[in-house]
C-alpha cells in the first residue's frame, strides 16, 4: 500500500491518459480549433500569405449556390435514407429474431452489406444504374419503365444513391434492434399474451416503446452517417450532374483538394461540425430526460 501512496493517484491517472490525450488533441481538438481559426482567413496561395478577413468566408457561404445545394441535398439524403433504413432495420430484426424458417440465412443476407466497403458497393451498384445496359433497366423493362437515366438525371440521382445507402446501412441498424429485442424479457410479451394482446398490439404497446432508446440511438447514428457517407460519390457521380448528388463532406473535399481553397473548406467544415454538434446536443438532452425513468 505504501507504493500507491508514494505515486499520487492523480499523477498515475494522467500518465495513463497521456498517450491518448496527445493524439486526441493533435488530431481532433487542435484541428477543430484550427478549422475555426482558418475560417476567418483567406487561403494562402503560392507566395501570398493568408490574410484575416473576418466573416467574409461566412458571407460567401450564403451566396454560394453550391453550398446551399449540398445542404439541401444532405437534408434530402437524410430524409431518403434515415426513415427507410431504420424502418427496414426494425422489420428485419423482428423477422430474424422470430421463428421464421431460413432466418439465419436472412440474417446473413441482411448484415453482409455492412462489412463491405462503400467503394465496393458503389462499384457494384454503378452497373445497376447504368442506362440501357444496366441491371435496373433490364429488370424494370417488363413493367414498361425504360430509358431512365438514373444517375444522369438530377431528379433521380439522389434517390438512387439513397436506395443504395439504405441497402448498405439497414443491416447495420438491424443489429442494434436485434440486440434490443433480445433484451426484452419474454415475460413481458407473455404477460400481454395472457391478457389477450395480439402480435401487433404487443408490438405497438410493449416492444416499440421498449425499443425507443434503441430507436433514438439508431436515428442519431443514421443522422451522423448521413454527414459522413460520401465514399460512393467518388465512384458514381462525383457529385453531379450539376451538384445534384453532392453532399457537404464531398464539397469540402472538392474545395480543399481540388480547388485548394483550404480557408473556404475550413468554413464549410465549421458548418459540418456545427451540424454534428447539434446532433450531439439532441442526444445529450434526450439522455438527460431519460435519466430519471431508468
Amino acid at each position: 500500500m505504501t507504493r500507491i501512496s508514494r505515486t499520487p493517484q492523480w499523477l498515475y491517472g494522467w500518465l495513463l491518459l497521456l498517450p491518448s490525450a496527445v493524439l486526441l488533441i493533435a488530431f481532433t481538438h487542435y484541428p477543430i480549433v484550427r478549422t475555426l481559426y482558418n475560417s476567418f482567413f483567406t487561403t494562402p496561395r503560392g507566395r501570398i500569405p493568408a490574410r484575416f478577413i473576418g466573416l467574409e468566408n461566412y458571407q460567401a457561404l450564403l451566396h454560394d449556390e453550391i453550398f446551399l445545394r449540398v445542404l439541401v441535398n444532405n437534408f434530402l439524403f437524410a430524409l431518403g435514407t434515415i426513415p427507410a433504413s431504420v424502418g427496414l432495420a426494425l422489420l428485419m430484426a423482428v423477422w430474424v429474431n422470430g421463428t421464421l424458417p431460413g432466418r439465419a440465412l436472412a440474417r446473413t443476407s441482411f448484415f453482409t452489406p455492412t462489412v463491405l466497403p462503400m467503394v465496393a458497393v458503389a462499384n457494384i451498384w454503378l452497373f445497376f444504374y447504368t442506362p440501357q445496359v444496366g441491371i435496373l433497366e433490364k429488370m424494370l423493362a417488363p413493367f414498361g419503365i425504360h430509358g431512365v437515366n438514373w444517375l444522369g438525371d438530377p431528379s433521380t440521382v439522389l434517390w438512387c444513391l439513397a436506395v443504395m445507402a439504405v441497402w448498405k446501412e439497414a443491416g447495420f441498424f438491424m443489429i442494434f434492434y436485434l440486440a434490443a429485442l433480445q433484451g426484452v424479457p419474454p415475460d413481458l410479451t407473455e404477460a400481454a399474451r395472457i391478457e389477450g394482446a395480439g402480435r401487433w398490439y404487443c408490438f405497438r404497446r410493449i416492444t416499440w416503446p421498449l425499443l425507443m432508446p434503441t430507436t433514438i440511438f439508431v436515428l442519431l447514428n443514421a443522422t451522423i452517417n448521413c454527414f459522413k457517407l460520401v465514399d460512393h460519390l467518388f465512384i458514381m457521380t462525383k457529385g453531379g450532374p450539376d451538384n445534384a448528388s453532392s453532399l457537404l463532406l464531398y464539397y469540402i473535399y472538392e474545395t480543399a483538394f481540388a480547388y485548394w481553397d483550404t480557408a473556404y473548406a475550413s468554413t464549410l467544415t465549421v458548418v459540418l461540425l456545427g451540424l454534428l454538434a447539434l446532433t450531439a446536443l439532441v442526444q445529450f438532452l434526450y439522455l438527460e430526460r431519460r435519466a430519471h425513468y431508468r
Binding site: 496561395r45 503560392g46 507566395r47 453550391i66 454503378l126 452497373f127 447504368t130 442506362p131 440501357q132 445496359v133 423493362a141 414498361g144 425504360h146 430509358g147 437515366n149 444517375l151 444522369g152 438525371d153 438530377p154 457521380t237 462525383k238 453531379g240 450532374p241 450539376d242 451538384n243 445534384a244 472538392e254 483538394f257 481540388a258 480547388y259 485548394w260 481553397d261
Partner: protein, 432 residues
C-alpha cells in the same frame, strides 16, 4: 491465454514502430528522380511506363527514376502538389496539360526554356505538333512537354451503319449529318424503348472537354491564352450548348440527362449507341472489346471542324536541384524520342505527339494496317488547346455544372452559361 494477449499486444507495438520507420529509407548516390504519373492503376500503361523507365535506366546509368502512379489527372495533381507542399522530393511529373496555370500560381514549375542549353535541345522543343504545345505555353515560355496526349474522336459502329442502310465508310462530317444519321441509327422497339441511340456525347467526368469541341466547331474558343478570361456566354457557345441539348431533347438521337463517361464505352461495345465521342485513349480498349466492325472519325463540323487536345504533359519542378533538372530533361527527351513515341502510341492508343513519329517505319506500318490510329493525327490540324485557366479546377466546375444543368433540363443554355461566366469572372479577375 493471458500470454497470447500480451504477445499480441507486443507484436502490435512492434509493427507500429516498424511502420513508423517505413518512410525515409536511405538514398543511394545516383540521381534519383520521382515522377508522379496519372494512370488509374497499374494495368497496361503502368507496365509500359515501367518498361520504358527500365530501358532508360539501363541506357543512362547514374539516373534512377521512380514513377508514382497516383490516379486520374485530378488526383495526380492533388497528390503532386501536396507532395511538393510537404517538401517531398519530386522532380518531375506528367500532369494534366491544363494544370499549367495552377502550377505556375503555386510557383512550382520551371519553364523548359531555362533548362535547354543546346540548339539541338531547342529544336527538340519545336518538334511537337503545335496544337499539343498550346496548353504548355504561357507568355511565350514552355512549361509542359506533351506526352500522354489525346483528343476527342468519334467512334462508330459500322455494322449499325450497314443495318440502317448508311455507308459505313462515310461517317457524318457535319452536325446536321450527325443528326440525320443519328435519327436513322436510333432504334426503338415496339413499346418505344430505345435499344440503340444514334449518338452519345459523355457529360460526366470531362463535360467541359466535350463542350470545348462543340464550341470550337461552332467557331468559338472558351478562354484566352493568358488563362484569365473565359467566353462561356458568347453566342456561339450558347448555340453549341443548345445543339448539344437538342440532340436529346429535340432530335432524340441521344439519351437525355447526363451520359456517364466511364460506362459509355461499355454501352458502345454492347451496341447501345451507334456513335460515341470519346478520347483517343480508348482506341485500344475498344479495339480489344468490340465484337463488331467499328470506325473512327474526326468530329463533325458546324462552322469548322475542331477538337480540343487533352491529356498529360511533362513538367519539371522548381525544387529540383540543377543536376536533377538536367537528369529530368535527359529523361524527358529520351521518353519523347520519335521511335519511343511511336511505340507508345501503338501500345496505348494515345496519339503520337510529333510528326516524325508517324514517319517511323513501325508506326507507318501500323497506321496502314489500322487506319483509325491516324484519325487523331489528321485531326490535329483542327485541334485547339484544352480548356485551361487560373484555378482551372474551380472555373471548370462552373462550366461543368452549367453544362450538366442544361443537359438535364434544369436551366436554359443562355442563362446557365451566363451564370458560369459570372462565376468564372469572380475567380479570374484576381489574376488580371
Amino acid at each position: 491465454m493471458k500470454s497470447v494477449f500480451r504477445k499480441a499486444a507486443l507484436a502490435g507495438v512492434l509493427v507500429l514502430a516498424v511502420a513508423l520507420c517505413l518512410p525515409g529509407l536511405s538514398r543511394a548516390k545516383d540521381i534519383e528522380l520521382t515522377m508522379y504519373y496519372p494512370v488509374s492503376v497499374g494495368g497496361p500503361i503502368t507496365g509500359i511506363i515501367d518498361g520504358m523507365i527500365g530501358q532508360f535506366q539501363a541506357e543512362n546509368p547514374g539516373i534512377k527514376v521512380k514513377a508514382v502512379y497516383a490516379g486520374n489527372y485530378d488526383d495526380t495533381r492533388v497528390k503532386a502538389l501536396a507532395a511538393l507542399k510537404a517538401g517531398e522530393p519530386v522532380q518531375l511529373s506528367v500532369l494534366f496539360s491544363i494544370d499549367v496555370f495552377d502550377l505556375m500560381d503555386e510557383d512550382v514549375v520551371v519553364p523548359f526554356d531555362e533548362l535547354v542549353a543546346s540548339d539541338a535541345d531547342r529544336q527538340w522543343m519545336q518538334s511537337f505538333y503545335p496544337a499539343l504545345m498550346q496548353n504548355g505555353m504561357v507568355d511565350g515560355k514552355t512549361y509542359g512537354i506533351p506526352f500522354q496526349r489525346s483528343t476527342i474522336v468519334m467512334y462508330y459502329n459500322k455494322d449499325a451503319f450497314r443495318e440502317v442502310g448508311l455507308d459505313p465508310e462515310t461517317p457524318p462530317a457535319t452536325w446536321d449529318e450527325m443528326v440525320e444519321m443519328g435519327k436513322k441509327l436510333t432504334k426503338r422497339d415496339a413499346s418505344g424503348k430505345v435499344e440503340r441511340w444514334g449518338v452519345s456525347i459523355p457529360s460526366t467526368g470531362y463535360p467541359y472537354w466535350m463542350f470545348g469541341a462543340l464550341a470550337m466547331q461552332n467557331g468559338q474558343e472558351l478562354m484566352n491564352d493568358k488563362g484569365d478570361a473565359t467566353m462561356f456566354d458568347a453566342p456561339a457557345c450558347v448555340e453549341a450548348l443548345q445543339f448539344w441539348r437538342d440532340l436529346g431533347a429535340k432530335h432524340q438521337v441521344m439519351a437525355e440527362g447526363t451520359i456517364d463517361w466511364g460506362t459509355l464505352r461499355q454501352k458502345f461495345l454492347e451496341g447501345a449507341t451507334a456513335m460515341m465521342w470519346h478520347t483517343t485513349g480508348n482506341l485500344t480498349p475498344v479495339r480489344n472489346g468490340a465484337s463488331f466492325e467499328f470506325g473512327v472519325a474526326m468530329l463533325p463540323a458546324a462552322k469548322r471542324r475542331g477538337s480540343p487536345t487533352g491529356g498529360g504533359n511533362f513538367y519539371v519542378f522548381k525544387q529540383a536541384t540543377p543536376e536533377e533538372r538536367q537528369a529530368a530533361l535527359t529523361f524527358i527527351k529520351w521518353m519523347t524520342a520519335p521511335e519511343r513515341t511511336a511505340a507508345w502510341s501503338m501500345q496505348t492508343g494515345y496519339v503520337a505527339t510529333r510528326p516524325d513519329a508517324y514517319e517511323t517505319q513501325t508506326l507507318r506500318q501500323y497506321v496502314q494496317e489500322f487506319p483509325p490510329a491516324a484519325v487523331a493525327r489528321d485531326q490535329f490540324q483542327f485541334a485547339t488547346a484544352e480548356f485551361s485557366t487560373h484555378e482551372t479546377a474551380r472555373v471548370k466546375k462552373f462550366l461543368d455544372d452549367a453544362l450538366q444543368a442544361v443537359l438535364t433540363g434544369q436551366k436554359e443554355p443562355a442563362q446557365a452559361l451566363a451564370e458560369a461566366q459570372k462565376g468564372a469572372e469572380r475567380v479570374l479577375k484576381a489574376y488580371r
